[in-house]
């Protein structure tokens, strides 16, 4: 079986913004239209800064490609689905734009593309095309700090599996039972 997953290393991320802007460039044609849902760019990655604790901290948030995704459960047309490699995808031929998936996602990982009248999220089309040919998603390819990883959890030799074996990590909202596949590394 293949279970594709993402890794983000909070201890290495330097908040350079390359992944956020590159997702916009590769998947959304460098669009300068606003992302009204997030009050952000048209990109699949959100940046959340924690500014009140003893030290500055950052979270980068995107679709967690959950193994138990609430967005798939609530979709009335089957447009949201899990593909055989474990990625959560959207079939835009079926999507009716009801936005139940947007409401149901506890990570708020979907944003609304008003020209398609449908929700949008990681992975965009360009990244899907890239991984189909064995390349990395754009956010992983651009990261200069070695803070991102992607690959098959079921392959013990994959870079993500090896890295997780050497890291301490957390998963977001683990208690909600979504079984997310976005691993936040907090240290070696």
């Amino acid at each position: 079986m293949t279970r594709l997953a993402f890794l983000w290393d909070q201890s290495r991320c330097i908040s350079c913004g390359a992944c956020i802007a590159a997702c916009n460039a590769a998947n959304y044609g460098s669009s300068t239209a606003p992302n009204v849902s997030w009050n952000w760019l048209r990109t699949n990655i959100r940046r959340i800064e924690l500014s009140n604790g003893p030290r500055p901290m950052l979270y980068l948030l995107q679709c967690q490609h959950c193994e138990n995704p609430p967005c798939v459960t609530v979709c009335p047309t089957g447009a949201s689905y899990r593909d055989r490699d474990g990625l959560v995808k959207i079939n835009y031929d079926l999507c009716i734009g009801c936005r139940y998936c947007m409401v149901a996602c506890p990570y708020d990982a979907r944003w609304f593309n008003e020209s398609m009248w449908a929700p949008v999220k990681c992975m965009g089309e360009e990244c899907q095309a890239r991984i189909a040919k064995g390349e990395q998603p754009v956010c992983v390819a651009v990261c200069p700090a070695g803070a991102r990883g992607f690959g098959d959890l079921d392959d013990p030799g994959s870079s993500i599996s090896r890295r997780l074996a050497e890291s301490r990590y957390v998963k977001l909202l683990d208690n909600m039972g979504t079984r997310p596949k976005y691993f936040v590394v907090v240290g070696p």
Binding site: I48, T77, L94, C95, W117, A118
Partner: protein, 388 residues
């Protein structure tokens, strides 16, 4: 002549509403939250339609006719009201989708050949199914009542009548509870999550449905000689329903306080003066007092005032309940530390156009129904099977 004028005005209003709604549809844009004005708008009318139907089941299933059989005089008007009130809900929700016809994807997939589909885990699949059943059963009931005026045989088939009425009641109750749980099953929004939404929506439906229907029926109450009945019947429903509603809502608020994630949303609701004016004052307290007064003093004016307040405040209540938890969504959903702040949402003009257009069309259809269908006592179907 008057009838022709009325028909023409209704038709004009219908067209005006359709045009306005279409303008809104053409000009729509992305909103800050996934479910904006059109969703509470749709919920409101769905509750009014189903709720009024539940109220009518007091006659159709449980046989209550009123002290002097008054209910029998207004039942067809009531059933028509229930049926047509679902239309603005449908208009709003269908115009909120990618295209109104795209909703067929819920059941029919055309890629790679025609196939049927049913995602039983999705609350929206069930909504679509139940609305279809609701419309079907209610239509059958209306036609049954209309044809009963012309057919003695139909009038005598009491068990058939009961079966239909029971089907309507079951469908509406299931529909209301499902509608509530479309929200209540979403663990991602702690302020909604829980089984209480089903009960809250049923109680809200009864109250909103009763008051909506009361306002509609009151236009004919004088002519039909049922003023006192209308005043007392709907007031009594409020006298029972409003305390129940308050009870459920009270526990919802208390329970939310115990969950900081829910409280984030509820505090947004509770910190607005809107809440105290509308959801406490004009939805619960004042209408309860007015309804009690109307019941004992047999005052139609008081009853209608209470009804009007409940209709308006009932919408505000649903609006706040659906909108505010979405604006608090991300802030707590990541565990309370994200602090991204709440989102400010205000309906866009295009959404308001769709909503107002739907309401105008709805009013027109209500009037057209009264003009074209034999809904008043003594009227009989003469043309096209069911028309006057």
């Amino acid at each position: 002549m008057r009838r022709r004028l009325a028909l023409a005005s209704a038709a004009a209003l219908l067209i005006a509403g359709a045009v306005l709604a279409w303008m809104g549809y053409a000009g729509r844009s992305a909103e800050e939250i996934p479910w904006g004005l059109l969703v509470p708008g749709y919920v409101f009318f769905a509750l009014m339609a189903t709720g009024s139907s539940i109220v009518n089941s007091i006659y159709t299933v449980f046989g209550y006719r009123g002290p002097n059989g008054e209910y029998e005089k207004i039942i067809k008007l009531g059933v028509w009201f229930s049926l047509i009130t679902i239309v603005p809900a449908w208009i709003m929700i269908l115009l909120d989708l990618r295209s109104p016809l795209s909703a067929t994807n819920i059941f029919i997939h055309t890629q790679g050949g025609l196939s049927l589909f049913f995602q039983y885990r999705s609350g929206i699949t069930w909504m679509a199914t139940l609305y279809a059943l609701f419309a079907l059963t209610l239509l059958v009931e209306l036609v049954y009542f209309i044809r009963s005026e012309a057919s003695e045989r139909l009038r005598s088939m009491k068990s058939a009548e009961l079966a239909i009425a029971l089907a309507v009641l079951v469908v509406t109750v299931v529909l209301d509870s499902n509608l509530g749980q479309v929200f209540g099953n979403v663990a991602a929004v702690p302020a909604w999550y829980g089984p209480h939404m089903a009960l809250y929506f049923i109680a809200s439906a009864i109250v909103i449905g009763a008051t909506g229907q009361a306002l509609f029926i009151s236009a004919f109450a004088g002519g039909l000689g049922v003023r006192e009945f209308v005043a007392r019947y709907y007031s009594r429903i409020l006298m029972i329903g409003l305390p129940v509603l308050a009870f459920i809502k009270g526990w919802m608020a208390i329970s939310a306080w115990y969950n900081p994630a829910s409280w984030e949303a509820y505090s947004l609701i509770l910190s607005s003066p809107n809440f105290y004016i509308f959801e406490i004052g004009l939805l619960l307290l004042v209408p309860f007092l007015l309804a009690t007064f109307a019941y004992y003093k047999r005052s139609l004016a008081m009853a209608l005032l209470a009804a009007a307040l409940v209709v308006v405040a009932g919408f505000v209540d649903k609006y706040d309940l659906i909108i505010e938890p979405q604006t608090a969504h991300i802030s707590y959903s990541l565990g309370g530390w994200a602090g991204v702040g709440s989102i400010h949402y205000a309906p866009a003009p295009s959404q308001m156009e769709i909503a107002i257009g739907s309401v105008l069309a709805y009013a027109a259809l209500l009037v057209l129904g009264v003009l074209l269908l034999p809904l008043k006592p003594g009227e009989r179907p003469r043309t096209l099977y069911i028309f006057k």
